[in-house]
């Protein structure tokens, strides 16, 4: 159906489309399959998995903000064993690639989860969550410490042959350093950004709205920040970059590709426009056809590549 090549590759795994859905916003894909044809997606990053089941945070978990939302779900999930037994067999039938998003509260747990998923042929890749702002132990603590990013990447790589994607936190001084740390430690790709830490206060109760006080901000409000980070990281990284953060329409998605993302993930917009991933796939197709690109990958990084090109011309 598509005239344009939408595929991209991470490690030895080829994904059929550059449009994927982001962890925590798509469950295991089963619910959205009741609304749209999810087989057209490049892949689905699962709800963040932990070694043991997690109940998540008590109290209010979500709050709407201008052009965005805060969440503090706290990684509620059935645990990796239940995922393998109860969800993966169904998710595998959806006809798209399943990326298992894993989250540990210790280095050892990251290793154990990678090992536990190694034999699952229906898991195409691992996305390592080192940047969840909503859990006390682990999560972002790993993602904001360069040494820990290296150690987590190494232990996951040691325990899997699947491509490893490190999901980066934007809550750091220089995200490029973290992308490079992941790359040097063997990561096959980086994905960014996770949510930005934020909060809201109920002025009648005079207390924070969210049960967990702070939460992660997502949605169109964070898009310029995410785009800037993708632009910075992709110029330094020698591994594929998956961009995300507030992408809400085909235009946003194309901006991320031009900024240097090899693929994009959609999150908050799924809650509002379940058909948007498919609209974006079509929008990218049209953009490529209208502008004479045969492959989506030809768009990647043009926002900075052209700039360098101009500079080169001036020098010579």
């Amino acid at each position: 159906m598509n005239k344009v090549d939408h595929s991209f590759t991470i490690g030895n795994v080829k994904f059929n489309n550059t449009v994927l859905t982001a962890s925590g916003t798509y469950g295991f894909g089963l619910e959205f399959a009741k609304i749209i044809d999810v087989s057209r997606l490049g892949g689905i990053a699962t709800k963040g998995l932990s070694l043991e089941p997690k109940k998540g945070n008590p109290g209010e978990r979500i709050y709407e903000t201008p052009a965005g939302m805060l969440n503090s779900i706290g990684l509620e999930n059935p645990g990796v064993d239940s995922f393998k037994k109860d969800y993966l067999p169904e998710a595998a039938k959806l006809g798209t690639k399943i990326i298992a998003n894993i989250s540990g509260s210790s280095l050892e747990e990251y290793g154990l989860m990678a090992e536990s998923l190694e034999s699952e042929k229906d898991v195409a890749a691992l996305e390592v969550n080192i940047s969840c702002p909503n859990v006390k132990a682990g999560g972002m603590a790993f993602g904001t410490d360069l040494k820990m990013v290296e150690k987590v990447t190494e232990i996951v790589k040691k325990n899997t042959t699947k491509p490893v994607i490190i999901k980066l936190s934007p809550n750091v001084t220089n995200i490029v350093d973290f992308a490079q740390a992941a790359q040097y430690s063997g990561a096959d790709a980086v994905s960014l950004i996770n949510t930005l830490m934020g909060m809201a206060i109920d002025i009648n109760k005079r207390k924070p709205v969210l049960g967990n006080v702070m939460g992660g901000l997502s949605g169109p409000a964070v898009k310029p920040v995410a785009l800037r980070m993708v632009y910075q990281v992709s110029q330094k990284a020698k591994i594929p970059v998956i961009g995300m953060g507030g992408i809400s329409n085909p235009r946003d998605a194309i901006e991320f590709l031009l900024a240097g993302a090899n693929a994009i993930m959609l999150g908050t917009i799924n809650f509002r426009e379940p058909q948007m991933p498919l609209d974006i796939i079509e929008g990218i197709e049209k953009y490529c056809l209208d502008n004479g690109f045969n492959s989506v990958q030809d768009l990647v990084g043009l926002a900075w590549k052209e700039e360098k090109h101009v500079k080169t011309n001036r020098c010579t």
Binding site: A33, K47, K55, R61, I62, G219, F271, R272, P274
Partner: protein
């Protein structure tokens, strides 16, 4: 398999009930065909990003022949404010039907429906379904004042009796409907209770239903993002604390009273 529908629906009527409440009628081929009492739809109220999320609104009633659904809502924030300005003939996008509705596997029985304020929204469709199944339906409705009761005439055809309470005493019993509930129960002797309203009312009804040993279903309201069970935002505490949180959007919004632990 596609079983939830994203539909562009034409507004065929939009009626203001009182200062804050509205009933919007929408033409929908699929959602009207498959909706059950107690389910809800996610309404996209704006092309802009404020609010970013859809509004979850109860299905008030369904006309399968005319392929129409009605939603009863109240202006509670920006989203419903925008919705209230939508005119007839305009198109609105709905996702639905969503959630687990009321258990209507009941025949030739006596059912008591209790609504508090906006809680009357999902009860009309329920009353119609129960009446169709040859049950005797009794409605107890409590609101702040007389103007909040203006839609109650809709229930007349399907309810054998309607008992009203207003906080200001302008109509019916003066006070909360729950204050009058023991008397209503003793008079009517219902075999099933269904209720929808604010949390303190739900808690009270749960206690009273337990005292009288009447099976009771509660339609609960929480903040909600996706409406389909993926974001895990709309938690409800299960009675069995060792179990995972229930999700209002898929496990509910209607729960058996004993399934859930209610806070104030």
């Amino acid at each position: 398999m596609i079983i939830l529908y994203l539909e562009n629906c034409k507004v065929t009527a939009h009626q203001q009930v009182n200062e804050t409440d509205y009933i919007i009628t929408l033409q929908t081929d699929q959602i009207a065909r498959v909706s059950e009492a107690g389910q809800f739809v996610q309404v996209k109220v704006t092309e802009g990003f404020e609010p970013i999320l859809r509004r979850p609104l109860s299905i008030h009633t369904v006309d399968r022949e005319k392929k129409e659904i009605k939603l009863y809502y109240q202006i509670l924030g920006k989203g419903t404010e925008i919705l209230s300005k939508v005119r007839e003939e305009e198109i609105i996008n709905l996702l639905g039907p969503l959630g687990t509705g009321f258990d209507t596997a009941l025949e030739n029985s006596k059912a008591l429906l209790i609504g508090g304020g906006l809680g009357q929204a999902p009860l009309l469709y329920l009353a119609e379904e129960l009446e169709r199944k040859k049950n005797t339906v009794f409605l107890a409705l409590g609101t702040r004042d007389e103007v909040s009761l203006r839609n109650v005439v809709c229930f007349d055809d399907v309810c054998q009796e309607v008992s009203l309470a207003t906080e200001d005493g302008s109509v019916g019993f003066k006070g909360y409907i729950t204050d009058n509930l023991p008397e209503i129960i003793e008079t009517f002797k219902p075999e099933r209770i269904y209720a929808c309203g604010p949390s303190p009312m739900m808690k009270k009804i749960k206690e009273i239903a337990k005292t009288y040993q009447i099976p009771c279903q509660l339609s609960l309201e929480t903040r909600m993002a996706c409406g389909i069970g993926v974001c895990l935002g709309c938690t409800v505490k299960p009675s069995d604390q060792s179990k995972p949180y229930l999700k209002a959007c898929v496990d509910g919004p209607v729960f058996w009273a004993e399934e859930v632990l209610l806070d104030e």
